[in-house]
C-alpha cells in the first residue's frame, strides 16, 4: 500500500470533502442525506488506503448500509418527499460559521506545528483472523459492553419512537 500523499489520497479526500460540502449547502433534505453517503464512501476509501480493511468495510456496512438509510427513513417520516425548505439556515448562522472556521484554524495550526516526521512502519495487513482473535482475547470486555450498549440503545430508540399509549390501553 502506498502511504504517501499520492493521487489516490487526493481523489478519496476530494470525494469526502465534496460530499460533506454538498450535505452542508443543499436545500433538499434527501439530497443532503445522499451526499452524506458519498462522504462516508470516501472515508471508507481512505480507511482502505490506511491498511484498515476491516474498518473500511465496517464503515461501508454500518454507515452507508444502516445510518444513511435510517436518516432517509427519518426524513421521509417527518417531512415527505420533495419538500424544499424555505428557511434552511438558523437565525444566527454566521456565528456558527465563524465558530467552525475558528475550530478548523485551531486544529490546522496544532497539526502543522506539532507533528514530527514519521514514516509508516511496515506491517503485515491485519487479517480478519487476527482481528477476531484480538476481539476474543484482549478486547472481549469492550465487545460485551458494546453488545449490551447496542441492545439497550436499540430497544430505547424503539420505545422513544413508539406512539404513546394511554392508561386504558388505547393508542393515542
Amino acid at each position: 500500500m502506498i502511504h504517501g500523499v499520492g493521487l489516490p489520497f487526493f481523489l478519496a479526500s476530494m470525494i469526502t470533502l465534496i460530499g460533506a460540502l454538498a450535505a452542508a449547502t443543499m436545500r433538499n433534505l434527501v439530497h443532503c442525506a445522499l451526499s452524506l453517503t458519498v462522504a462516508f464512501g470516501g472515508l471508507a476509501l481512505i480507511y482502505l488506503q490506511l491498511d484498515a480493511q476491516f474498518a473500511g468495510f465496517a464503515q461501508i456496512l454500518v454507515y452507508i448500509g444502516a445510518v444513511a438509510i435510517l436518516v432517509v427513513f427519518a426524513i421521509l417520516l417527518t417531512r415527505g418527499v420533495g419538500t424544499t425548505l424555505i428557511h434552511v439556515y438558523a437565525q444566527k448562522w454566521i456565528l456558527g460559521l465563524l465558530l467552525a472556521a475558528g475550530v478548523f484554524a485551531l486544529l490546522g495550526w496544532a497539526v502543522l506545528t506539532s507533528i514530527p516526521r514519521v514514516a509508516a512502519p511496515e506491517i503485515a495487513v491485519p487479517t480478519v483472523l487476527t482481528i477476531g482473535q484480538s476481539l476474543m482475547h484482549d478486547y472481549v470486555l469492550p465487545l460485551e459492553i458494546t453488545a449490551v450498549l447496542l441492545t439497550v440503545a436499540l430497544i430505547g430508540a424503539v420505545i422513544v419512537a413508539m406512539p404513546e399509549f394511554k392508561k386504558n390501553g388505547g393508542a393515542e
Binding site: A20, A52, A58
Partner: protein, 103 residues
Amino acid sequence: MTPLTAYLLLAAMIFALGLGIALTRRVAILVLIGIELMLNAANLNLIAFWRFGPHPEALTGMMFAIFSIAVAAAEAAVGLGLVIAYHRHARTTDLDAMTRMKG
C-alpha cells in the same frame, strides 16, 4: 507535508464541516448528520494515528475506531428516534421552533 499531517488535516476539515452543519442548519436531522461527520473525523484520526504510530501490530487504534463505529450507529438510532418522537408531538423538526421540552 508528511502523510500523517495530510490525514490529520483532512480529518480537521471534515470535523469543521460537520461542526458547521451542526451549528448553522435549522433541521434537527441535519444537525444529527453533522454530528455523524464529526464522529467520522475522529475515527479517521484514530486510524491514522494507529497506522503511523510506533506499534501498529497491536491493532489498538483500529479496534477503538471499530467500537466507535458501533457506538455511532447506536447514537444515530436513538437520535433519529428522538426526532421522530418530537415530530409526532409538535409537528415540526425546526430547531428554532423547539423552545420547550415539556409536554
